[in-house]
């Protein structure tokens, strides 16, 4: 088992290098240069060129990539072209907001999505099942950021229960969590339902019932445990897409997260910030996916068996 974990962790290194390269390559095409952003619009062309030269802006792509990775390993993501501040500090200052948002919504999604999915599957074709399926369909079809706006209109404007913008207290996160959680509940519910339905029809379920096991135990012990595998993968993937998807939600609720930093940076053409933000979230995503892979191996005896010999 340890062999498997180590193997997964080692594969992660080239993956991360490749991820950084792709992001580096794309953002490299962004118009704009450090000289003109640092020195401002009034600076002469020569001064700007000199500044760019000084910062290594004209070096070949691979050289800059190598330097970037080397700095990254040492905890440095470069400095913002606009403000000159350390990108790493900026990202670390904002990461808690994005991570809190993503984690909270995933927890909401898991709790409601999986439990409602089980209910839906166990009571297939009942009124409850139909209503839940319809709700999931709607949640999956309407954009998350729009649902967030509707929640603001209802809970902040009409009822005045919760704050609509900014951070500061636990209350500020409630609406963003629900907003980001909605899409997740929808996909989780559908996935759990499908996965459970497949297991409910399996032979071992009939066996379990035939030997007189209580229905609750049959569902939780026999069906759910087998249905859990695809659900876990989805949780990991959703957490990842949530890291990117929070961009729009941060924008709706004016949350100072990494996503809103990237948007701001794109407007200013501040490449180090775009790069730093995207790369740090991608690294986080990759790490989460590897953890999911490892968890998967612990839950699935078939993978475990391959490595315990």
């Amino acid at each position: 088992m340890i062999k498997y974990v180590i193997k997964r962790l080692l594969i992660m290194i080239p993956t991360l290098l490749a991820v950084i390269f792709i992001v580096f390559f794309i953002t490299n095409m962004t118009p704009g240069d450090p000289g003109s952003l640092i020195l401002g619009q009034n600076a002469s062309k020569e001064d700007i060129a000199k500044k760019n030269e000084e910062l290594g802006f004209y070096d070949p792509l691979l050289v800059r990539y190598g330097k970037y990775v080397w700095d990254l390993v040492h905890g440095d993501l470069g400095n913002s072209w606009k403000s000159g501040r350390s990108v790493m500090k900026e990202v670390l200052g904002r990461l808690p907001v994005t991570a809190t948002l993503a984690a909270g919504s995933v927890i909401i999604g898991i709790i409601f999505g999986i439990s409602l999915g089980i209910i839906s599957a166990v009571k297939q074709y009942s009124i409850t099942d139909i209503i839940l399926t319809i709700i999931a369909m709607f949640l999956a079809s309407f954009p998350g950021f729009w649902i967030g706006m509707m929640l603001i209109l209802l809970f902040s404007l009409a009822l005045g229960w919760l704050p609509a913008f900014g951070v500061g207290s636990f209350k500020h996160y409630i609406l963003p969590w629900i907003t980001a959680g909605c899409g997740f509940i929808a996909s989780q519910l559908r996935m759990t339902r499908t996965s459970m339905l497949e297991c409910i029809r399996a032979d071992y379920m009939r066996t379990a019932r035939a030997k007189g096991q209580k229905e609750f135990k049959v569902i939780t012990r026999h069906a759910l445990r087998n249905a859990l595998l695809p659900i876990i993968t989805l949780v990991g993937m959703e957490f990842g897409s949530m890291l990117g998807g929070t961009v729009t939600i941060e924008s709706v609720f004016s949350l100072p997260g990494v996503g809103s930093m990237i948007i701001e940076a794109i407007r200013l053409k501040d490449v180090p910030l775009i790069l730093g933000g995207t790369i740090s979230l991608s690294i986080l995503f990759t790490v989460v996916m590897v953890i999911v892979d490892i968890l998967y191996a612990f839950v699935d005896p078939r993978i475990k068996a391959r490595y315990t010999k």
């Binding site: 991360l16 992001v23 990237i262």
Partner: protein
């Protein structure tokens, strides 16, 4: 390429099979409702100019700004005094086009690469799959944003950005759909009579793998429409004054608390479009699933 696939589908699949799928599709109320909504939206897209003049959707009229729904303007007007009804009607074109185009391009590219990866295997397969795995490590929205940042905001660039971010998914889907077919006797038979690789892929393998590909394609158009709206909402998609639903939400954000209708209406338009695609996708999936045959 896309045409060949469609032609092959027409010639190789008997009508009765399509008839059967259509028959089962029709039986699902949800799928049928999706089809009706989609048809209505399609009619709006086609006859947008007949319903209301395009000029109405972009003409600014400050004296008429921020009027609540009712009266002369059934959906009200925005902060520039533009008629929201006209903007919704004409916005349907951009919103739907981006979603469908992004999926169509991604399916064709992903389909070819996925088929090549599965068919040739070995090192080709490894390279294609490693690259697409790597791209999948970057969250969809962030990748799309960086591409738009690099290329600039325009409809074509948004489609390119969304295609790049979603191609890996289609490579996986197509590859997974094709792998089990490779071992079939008819593929071996085609090999033994000396058919070329392209002939085998396009005549024997792809037509038989079409089912899952079609299902996944329909189901992802909805989420692509939402993603495109998200990009525009962030100001990184279609730029004003061109009417587009996501961009309308972006402009309306500031007025949300005082003029809620400005955000409610475009959101419903996006949601209904995505909903119709999702309902149809589910319907097609169920109709094509042999396990659910009565």
């Amino acid at each position: 390429m896309a045409n060949t696939v469609v032609d092959i589908k027409k010639t190789t699949k008997k009508k009765s099979q399509f008839g059967e799928i259509w028959h089962r599709f029709k039986k699902s109320k949800a799928a049928f409702a999706g089809l009706i909504i989609f048809t209505l939206i399609l009619l709006v897209v086609i006859f947008a100019d007949v319903i209301v003049d395009y000029d109405v959707s972009i003409t600014q009229n400050i004296s008429q700004r921020l009027q609540h729904p009712g009266g002369d303007h059934i959906f009200g007007t925005d902060n520039f005094g533009r008629d929201i009804f006209a903007r919704i009607i004409h916005g349907s074109r951009a919103s739907l086009f981006i979603g469908v185009a992004a999926v169509a391009v991604a399916v064709v590219i992903g389909g070819i690469l996925g088929a090549i990866a599965a068919y040739y295997g070995g090192i080709t397969d490894s390279i294609i799959m490693r690259v697409s795995d790597t791209i999948m490590c970057i969250p969809f929205m962030l990748l799309a944003l960086t591409v738009v940042a690099a290329l600039g905001t325009s409809m074509i660039n948004v489609i390119i950005a969304m295609t790049i971010s979603s191609v890996p998914r289609y490579i996986r889907i197509v590859r997974a759909a094709i792998l089990p077919i490779l071992g079939q006797d008819y593929v071996e038979a085609a090999h033994s009579v000396g058919s070329g690789d392209a002939h085998i892929i396009f005549r024997h393998i792809l037509p038989n793998a079409l089912g899952p590909i079609i299902v996944q394609t329909t189901m992802s158009i909805g989420s692509q429409i939402i993603s495109a709206a998200g990009l525009s909402f962030l100001g990184m998609g279609i730029q004003p004054p061109t009417p587009e639903w996501g961009a309308m939400l972006n402009e309306a954000k500031v007025y949300m608390l005082t003029h809620p209708y400005m955000v409610i209406i475009p959101g419903i338009a996006i949601g209904l479009t995505a909903l119709s695609m999702n309902l149809m996708g589910d319907g097609i999936r169920d109709a094509m699933d042999p396990k659910l045959k009565d």
